[in-house]
Symmetry: none
Subunit: 205 residues, 4 copies
DNA sequence: TATGAATGAGAGTTCATTCAT
DNA sequence: CATGAATGAACTCTCATTCAT
């Protein structure tokens, strides 16, 4: 009997998938794709090995689900917060802030995210493309902002796509530094640092 | 019989290690750490599998050797060129330029380098630390420059260590974009882009 | 409420078993015992996997049921037609003809039948014996004919049991050839071929 | 240093392959393809599991090697003995005799052989074809004899290809009966039975 | 009665590492 | 010093069977 548009079965399925995803996320983050075994994922999720395959077609599929889910959630959060800001400056600052905060809150996910980055070159083309698309999608949120700023002469005339990726790189980089314990400053300080660098770097004279 | 301070044996050993390293670099770059098998590395180097273990203690050891060797060579090249420049601006530009060119010339190495970055979080602490030290060493070349610039008031008062890492991130990022085919501009254009962003971002007002 | 000696429940049970058998027969024929999964059998029969086990104790049990059922039906058909013939020659010809036609009509069953033959040696003794009994039962229909023929001097003095099996082998062989596309002749031609060979081979001089 | 055209390595390789084949043959015969595990084959051959894969690419490959090897040896033996006979009658009798004796001597092989027969319909087309070719090859030895006999009017005008397969079926059938303990007669008696049936069945009037 | 989610033993295969030659 | 055959632990994935609902 469907309740709220979902049958009992669907709810259970969703629950199991989420449970498995959570366990997988933790393990992938801790040990990387190869280090995490399906056995351990099943164990961590509290189910038998075979059960994993009732919900995901392969180990890779779980990995992808974790990755895609995380990026999608991040994009959504970023987009929402950027939209909530009124000034261009505020929007760009929000972009940096939210990404940084999101990753701080989802460290496990960030580790998978960054690891996939590292594998970008060794994966088959189609997998690489799939991740690329995902990654570029979030960069494009920023790109649109930059383009608007350039049009309004608030930002000097630069390649908006490259700049967007560069800002993403900076943000990603600072998070890496934080997680590795290389950055001594607080989050606030790090955000301010990145933003200042970027804003001074791209603002119209 | 020692020649130039090296015995015949030492020369041969060095030669074999180099040969193996080259083969390994190519394979690690192409297939990643897990995808590259010792069998294939031995094959590519033209020796038997067992021979590999006469020169390196493990597969990981080869990987590390490839990584360390590459980073050391890069640092050296960067240092030399930075020293050759006279102005602060020139030195910073050189830092970016040389790194970018070095990686363009040594794509195989870059792929390993970037991949290790991705694994930074899944490795045991001591391995992570070892890579960190290596990575930070090159950043410190830049950090010293920035510190000097700040002292001379050519650069505004920023955290030199964080800034150095940020500039490294930017450089690494643009190379990634280039290798993935995301950057449409030429090398010159990319260098100029990064440098402008950085210089405007950090220069004293 | 019993109807025609069967309760409603019994009718339903029989119906389900038949339905499952049909589905199983098709799958076993197509993929062999190991290739056919209980999942697919259940699917093909339009029931859930668990339901299968309400009607059959195991996958093997379904297989056996399919096999026994098929052989029993064949024996019945053969016996009926043989009885309908009047001459010895006619009876033997009928034996060959009916078997061949039966298998032509029930190719799925034949594939299982022939496959079980192949496994005859790898099965545990009791299973082997069970199949043997089944197989020998049909041969005995023929054996009886031969024995009668020998007594009446229409057939030369041969070992009736061995001859019966030999004729069965010939018949089985020709069907195999037909199903594998090795026999170019029509059914009629194949029947005539076998019968001539056999009749000339066993007839009294 | 090559000795007798074979290097030490080649001899060792051949030895291991033979050793594995023997172990595999026994297990396949006893348990069938699915029942025999690579683990057990390795065990029986006295090597580790991984070693098996140094000599054969897959479990299937071992199976095929066993099958092909056995059939080839049989064909050779049959051909040699058939050639040694002078009369047509003698040749046909030799064909039956040698096959029967070969299988009596190589029971393990026969079990695999017969089992493959059973799987003929469930295997992919190319595998089926491969076995078919192998099987037909031995039948063709006989076919040539029959064709010659027909030309010389010693044999009545029959389809030589179908007859050859039929005689093969008879031979195979009698061996099956023997191995299953259904045939009470001695080898001699069985051979005579088959030959008489066949010869009377095909001889010109 | 019917379901299908859950199980977990067990399959084939790979590969870093060792060691006798 | 060089070899490469041998190892065996570890991997992912399958599927017959069970059992709570």
């Amino acid at each position: 009997m469907p309740v709220l548009g979902k049958t009992r079965k669907e709810v259970l399925t969703e629950f199991r998938m989420e449970e498995l995803l959570e366990a997988a996320r933790k393990l992938f983050a801790e040990k990387g794709f190869h280090g995490a075994t399906v056995d351990k994922i099943a164990d961590a999720a509290g189910v038998a090995k075979g059960t994993v395959y009732l919900y995901y077609r392969s180990k890779r599929a779980i990995y992808w689900a974790a990755l895609e889910r995380g990026i999608a959630a991040m994009i959504e959060e970023v987009q929402t917060q950027v939209d909530a800001e009124e000034t261009l400056e505020g929007k760009i600052r929000a972009f940096i802030t939210i990404k940084l905060c999101y990753f701080e809150r989802n460290r496990d996910f960030f580790k998978i995210y960054i690891s996939e980055f590292g594998s970008a070159f060794t994966h088959p083309v189609q997998i690489r493309k799939r991740f690329g698309d995902l990654y570029l999608r979030q960069a494009r949120v920023l790109e649109a902002l930059l383009r608007e700023g350039i049009k309004r002469k608030a930002i000097r005339s630069i390649r908006a796509d490259t700049a967007a990726l560069a800002i993403s790189d900076l943000t990603r980089g600072i998070i890496t530094q934080r997680l590795l314990g290389w950055s001594k400053g607080g989050v606030e300080s790090d955000i301010r640092f990145i933003f200042d660098l970027v804003w001074k770097g791209i603002a119209a004279p």
